[in-house]
């Protein structure tokens, strides 16, 4: 039990890095290609009259929110 308590910070660090791994993989696989396509065709957002706040919210959701949820899957 005592050694388990000593290892707790390391376990938490491992959890954090594994969550980061999933987050960066999500960004590389889904978010970045979407950014790439839509930033080249910004008129898409003009045509849909997308407010600036929604763009910021969408980017945060896509890059941090969704992969953050995904990383809640318990670690190895």
């Amino acid at each position: 039990m005592h050694s388990r308590q000593k290892l707790q910070p390391l376990l938490r660090a491992g959890t954090l890095s594994q969550s980061l791994h999933l987050m960066i993989l999500f960004n590389l696989a889904l978010a970045q290609p979407l950014y790439d396509v839509t930033s080249k065709q910004a008129e898409f957002y003009v045509a849909h009259e997308t407010p600036a706040a929604w763009l910021v919210f969408g980017a945060l959701l896509l890059s941090i929110g969704l992969p953050g949820l995904l990383s809640l899957v318990p670690p190895c």
Partner: protein, 147 residues
């Protein structure tokens, strides 16, 4: 969540996500750089994903590599928002964006396109449609816009 089934489902769930995301990562690259049939395309993508998952589970260096890439989580959206054409939409303030107006007139409009038709061959020396040689074209041009 999956922890209630013991440590193995937890590990499997993470690895499955790594495999899935790695497959999704490689598919567009394969699509751009190769000309594979759909079956081979999906098989190769899945194989790459499985190799990436296996490497992730076994190799500390690969995990360290992913850790080094992790600033991308913040960098990608920042680049999208501040250093792409989208930034003009964010920092344009409340400027009116000119858009096409909806026409109220219900008059029928016809557009006729003569593809690869040489206009010059219709014209006379005054750069008007030659009504002697092409009377029907000249009559049509008289009550329409042509260019």
């Amino acid at each position: 969540m999956l922890g209630i089934f013991g440590p193995r489902p937890e590990k499997a769930s993470r690895l499955a996500l790594v495999v899935l995301l790695s497959t999704l990562f490689i598919l567009p690259i394969l699509n751009r750089s190769t000309d594979l049939s759909i079956t081979l395309f999906i098989t190769t993508g899945t194989l790459f994903g499985m190799i990436a998952g296996l490497t992730y589970a076994r190799s500390r260096i690969f995990r360290l590599f992913l850790t080094c890439l992790s600033p991308g989580v913040v960098v990608f959206p920042l680049v999208f928002l501040f250093f792409s054409p989208v930034s003009q939409l964010i920092f344009s303030g409340n400027e009116e964006i000119p858009t096409a107006e909806i026409a109220r007139s219900r008059a029928p409009v016809f557009v006729i396109v003569f593809d690869e038709f040489s206009t010059v061959s219709l014209l006379n020396r005054d750069l008007q449609i030659d009504e002697n040689l092409y009377p029907n074209f000249a009559r049509r041009a008289a009550d329409s816009y042509w260019f």
